[in-house]
Subunit: 426 residues, 2 copies
């Protein structure tokens, strides 16, 4: 096997997916799929009708596109971002030539990483962090160095301190990028405050004389807020437009089956990343780009996202009630009520309640209680991080609302069983 | 820039595409796009209606799929291949678990190459060969070694001789794969005879004791035959099912805007290639797979392909008549009448008629005569191959039928001008 092949084989997600396949009878609070009932069947039906009944437009959609994606669509994305970031007064804030359309944001993350990192380089990540991206980094031979975070996101002081340590070890030249999920992150559901966004940029700018470090902002869950819209992107705070790489997807807010996302690149990365995409696939499906472009243009996308938000808010409340009823009363458990996104991050520090795949809790949950969660260990680049065995991710994404409290109750029963606190709770 | 980034930047296709952008007034016989008028607008309209008006099916199509692709679709592809290869009596000839759905066959070619090659390995290619794949190989740091071919495809004796030379140089262990476009190849339009297919496999098998070499069969143009269906795939001749990697696309026969292709892998490559795809994008758009699966199931795909064949046959005849009228009467020109595919490979050995981008013929064609071709140099891994400056690829793919003879006449005028044979021809 080649080096790239070996690296790719080490993905933990494979083990997780296999668990799903091996236990089809489980109620899965693990899967990161989106809500079936809010998938935009009628909307896509309507817009396909609109596109395909216009022969000239239909032919354009069914022909090859270009590698970076449809120019009309990319202009629209620029305006769409300006609206999200309330930078409408600066219409060229993100120009279309810096925008790349990709097959899901995963493709963008992979392409950027291949363009930025040589094997042996360092990427700064949070602990915990989105585990699929950790695998992507591993897949290209990148070393991950973790930075602590709290309830407002990554800690700027911890970032600065980490850079100092790396510098002292003479390794600063290897640090190429910091990766952050800036909105309702995966797995913790935390959104970085505006202050944190500014502080993190400041730290990176302060180190610029010594080493230029990109910031990759993954805004996958940005539009899935429940009560209040979240702060502007770090991208919009990057005055020189040379440091922040940004990606956002239509998989969560619209439909993963269309597999369409976009990324914004600093000018100097536009050519290298586009060249790589050209080798990977020449460009993402043209027809799918036409569909989303049309939905944005007509305002149907915005209306749909508002519905999606309501639906996930209701589901998050159902899961939260379950947690309040069945889990948070148990000893040494802790979670934070989500304000957006698809996840709840649960901590359990009681004896015998380690969350790892190979420990009793996971096996009891899956075999006896028929419920599945994602063990915290997947989200830590450092397997010895003590939190790795004390945390788990629960998703309210794919399960119908009525299953959420039921799933949480089963998990509570599993915790009760392995934690031995049955009597105090019944 | 990273090594991968640097390699990716060297793509010649970028230069060609830039020429297209810089000369929008040119009649392009260069572009490899497909015929606009035969794009399946009504067909895709009908099948979208069918899928999207069935809520359960529509939701499945709009949800995430799996990394290797829809299992129903992959089973269908297995049957589809059995029909093409007339191996229906061996229904499991190509089992669904060996099939991977990709975003165009380019993605399959890239993934396979990343799984098979480490930088510094050798890939055997034909001279000339599909230039985009040459760039893909360059993009992962693979050395290309050319093997001669004639009107029946790659020459088995030349292949054997090349392997002997590499062995004598002590480099045999670096040879991992042979790449062939086996049907109506790009750029020559040649289809390998059945005998050649068997002979090439025999040569590779004979060398197996010393070095196991994969054969990557690119069947992009397989279904675009004009009068007689071509021979069975090399894949179907691979008795041990361990050597031939195969890819075929729906971009030429149906629609490039759906960006959907498939590949067949030997069992031992299934996991490494799927793992890489998982890192690249988790899987190709689900909805697009549903569309093609449905078109195959209903027989509408087969009827459409029959129409596509007729359309390209008519266009190839129009181009051929142009060649007979305006170019083949010129001194030292030669071409072969296409029996399928999208291309005519033209050779001109007259003085001053070098076909390279930076020579007078290309500039005269583009600037004075407003016609564009693809210089032969793009298709040779060895830039010093004498044929590289004496050949060009003409495509009858994208131009409407009425433009084909006109384009060829302009090219004839350019040849006449730079070759200085004006008087003998007017």
């Amino acid at each position: 096997m080649t080096r790239r092949g070996e690296w790719a084989a080490r993905q933990k997600i494979g083990y997780l997916m296999q668990q799903g396949v091996d236990h089809p009878d489980c109620l899965s609070l693990a899967a990161g799929l989106v809500d079936y009932s809010s998938l935009p069947v009628e909307l896509v039906h309507t817009v396909m009708e609109r596109i395909l009944s216009d022969p000239a437009r239909a032919r354009a959609a069914l022909q090859y596109g270009t590698t970076p994606g449809s120019m009309t669509f990319r202009h629209q994305i620029g305006e769409f971002l300006a609206e999200l970031d309330e930078t409408e007064t600066r219409p060229d804030e993100v120009s279309a030539d810096r925008i790349l359309i990709t097959t899901g944001s995963q493709q963008f993350l992979d392409l950027v990483s291949q363009a930025v990192f040589d094997p042996g380089d360092i990427c700064l990540v949070t602990a915990p962090s989105y585990f699929v991206y950790l695998s992507t980094l591993e897949g290209i031979g990148v070393e991950m160095v973790a930075v602590a975070c709290d309830d407002e996101g990554i800690c700027p002081d911890a970032l600065d301190e980490r850079l100092r340590q790396i510098d002292e070890a003479g390794q600063l030249h290897r640090v190429k990028m910091l990766y952050l999920v800036s909105y309702f992150d995966n797995p913790r559901g935390i959104t970085m405050t505006l202050e944190r966004r500014e502080q993190v940029l400041e730290v990176l700018i302060r180190w610029s004389d010594r080493q230029f470090i990109y910031l990759l902002e993954d805004a996958a869950y940005r539009e899935i807020w429940f009560d209040d819209p979240p702060p502007p992107s770090i991208l919009s705070l990057d005055r020189h437009k040379n440091r922040v790489i940004y990606t956002q997807t239509f998989s969560k807010s619209l439909s993963p089956g269309l597999r369409t996302a976009f990324g914004v690149l600093p000018q100097e990365l536009v050519k290298p990343v586009t060249d790589l995409k050209s080798i990977h696939d020449f460009g993402s499906p043209h027809l799918n780009q036409f569909v989303i472009a049309n939905l944005i243009e007509t305002g149907e996308y915005a209306r749909h996202v508002a519905e999606v938000r309501r639906s996930y808010r209701d589901k998050s409340e159902a899961m939260w009630r379950g947690l309040e009823d069945y889990i948070l009363p148990l000893p040494e458990t802790d979670a934070r009520r989500p304000e957006g996104g698809l996840y709840v991050w649960l901590r359990c520090t009681a004896a015998n309640c380690e969350t790892n795949f190979d420990r009793r809790l996971f096996q009891t949950a899956v075999d006896h209680q028929k419920v599945m969660f994602v063990p915290g260990e997947l989200f830590y680049s450092d397997p010895d991080d003590p939190d790795a065995s004390r945390t788990m991710r629960l998703s309210f994404g794919v399960q119908p609302i009525d299953n959420l409290a039921k799933g949480v109750r089963r998990l509570g029963d599993a915790l009760t069983e392995v934690g031995g606190f049955a009597e105090s709770q019944t």
